[in-house]
């Protein structure tokens, strides 16, 4: 039997297909369930060592809509981190103030470290370029909702596939559902070799390309990502690849796509997706962001054992 009670949510690798589907089913029920006192008296510690809009606010909204409370910070400058406190010490202290921690940190593996040193559940809200599992749950939820299924889809991933943690997590999860994957990126931002090897080991049909031309007509879903300036140590390297892809209505018409293509993006976008797409049936990224609330409600409720 699937149970998320008191579990850490660190990496999508820690969940099997049945567990992924369990959260998606629960999220569907959560869409109908609002302003309850299911988590009354419980406190969420929201620790953001890196900027966030959607993840932080949708978690906080989810907790409050389930009757819980939220404490935390949105930037580390206001905490003892600025005085040199280690992450382990910070989470050990904060553990005494809340029932569950959500953590975003610029160092990879930070959520696992936090989970190892505290006795309350830790949810990874993004650790450097590594994982962002709750984003993956909501990406899967959005795909399932808009395509009607997760099985056997052809998915294109576009943009920064090297540092894009949402891409790594989503590709791993979609491997459970027999997806065929096309990875489209500048050469310097290709999917990490170990990710590709892992997918191939799991019998996923993987293809790498520098352009959407030639493959766009095969895609059921296109997952776009921003080229993340903050992940580049050298600004010259960023300048070489910025603006490589600019999707617009006219570009899609030119390259040709399926009529029922759905375009997702974890947002924020910069210049990779033109606003002309926003009003088309292809664009589901704003709904995708909205889906963060029911999905995170499902995660909080199941981890805190109240579903």
């Amino acid at each position: 039997m699937v149970s998320f009670k008191q579990r850490d949510i660190i990496s999508i690798r820690h969940f099997n297909k049945e567990e992924l589907l369990y959260i998606l089913d629960l999220a569907k029920k959560m869409e109908q369930l609002d302003n309850t006192d299911m988590l009354k008296g419980m406190v969420l510690g929201s620790l953001f060592f890196e900027p966030s809009t959607r993840t932080r606010l949708s978690f906080e909204s989810a907790m409050k809509r389930l009757g819980g409370m939220v404490i935390g910070f949105a930037e580390p400058g206001v905490t003892s981190t600025a005085k040199g406190e280690s992450l382990s010490d910070s989470v050990r202290i904060i553990e005494g103030y809340c029932d569950i921690i959500i953590l975003r940190h610029y160092l990879e593996g930070s959520a696992q470290l936090a989970a190892d040193v505290v006795n309350i559940p830790v949810i990874n809200a993004g650790d450097g370029a590594n994982q962002h599992p709750t984003q993956t749950f909501l990406d899967l939820y959005t795909i399932q909702k808009t395509k009607g299924t997760l099985e056997g889809l052809t998915i294109g991933f576009l943009g920064d596939l090297k540092y894009g943690r949402t891409v790594h997590s989503l590709a791993y999860a979609l491997a459970y559902f027999g997806a065929e994957m096309h990875f489209v990126s500048p050469n310097s931002l290709r999917m990490p070799e170990d990710c590709i090897d892992e997918l191939k080991d799991r019998k996923v049909k993987c293809h790498e390309n520098e352009s959407l031309a030639g493959i766009s007509k095969k895609l059921d879903v296109l997952y776009c990502t921003r080229i993340q300036k903050e992940r580049f140590a050298d600004p010259v390297e960023f300048e070489k690849v910025r603006g490589t892809y600019r999707l617009s209505k006219s570009v899609l018409e030119e390259i040709g796509i399926k009529n029922d293509l759905k375009i997702l993006h974890p947002l924020p976008r910069v210049d990779e997706m033109d606003e002309s797409l926003d009003t088309t049936d292809f664009a589901v990224y704003f709904n995708q962001a909205r889906n963060g609330v029911p999905v995170r409600k499902a995660i909080l409720a199941s981890v805190l054992g109240k579903e």
Partner: protein, 148 residues
């Protein structure tokens, strides 16, 4: 009389059946330059099993489990003999453990294990050839990536 390419030692440890090209790496991780008694290093010695092998003999030292684990990562076929009064009193093959803690640094510079004095921890996903996964950042490391 049996001829020895590398002389016997009275007391200490002998690491045998090292792949020849890995001998100096093993010597390096055992920090032999700081030993005060006799240390003998042989390379390209004839081996029925490996073709060519390396051997290291360290006088007056019994190598510990942490060092055995390190050797296993570099020389998975190596064997260790503990010597007392020129006699082998214990003999065993090195074995790669399932989890390696505090020995190999994660090669990812953005991994939390390289900050805040965090001890590294790696899961062994494949023993030969060696393939390790960082417990924290999940990156996979092969033999060429190992920093010991």
């Amino acid at each position: 009389m049996k001829h020895l390419d590398v002389s016997a030692i009275k007391d200490g440890s002998v690491i045998d059946h090292i792949e020849s090209k890995s001998t100096l790496k093993v010597a390096d991780i055992l920090n032999i330059q700081n030993e005060e008694q006799v240390v003998l290093v042989g390379m390209n010695l004839t081996s029925k099993f490996l073709g060519k092998k390396g051997i290291i003999k360290i006088g007056g030292k019994i190598i510990d489990q942490k060092e055995v684990n390190k050797i296993a990562l570099i020389a998975p076929n190596a064997s260790v003999n503990i010597i007392k009064d020129y006699e082998v009193i214990k003999k065993f093959k090195v074995a790669v453990p399932d989890i390696i803690e505090g020995i190999v640094k994660c090669f990812n510079p953005n991994c939390i294990s390289n900050y805040y004095n965090t001890q590294s921890k790696l899961h062994v996903v494949n023993k030969n050839p060696i393939k390790l996964q960082c417990h924290y950042c999940e990156r996979i490391m092969n033999a060429k990536d190992l920093v010991i």
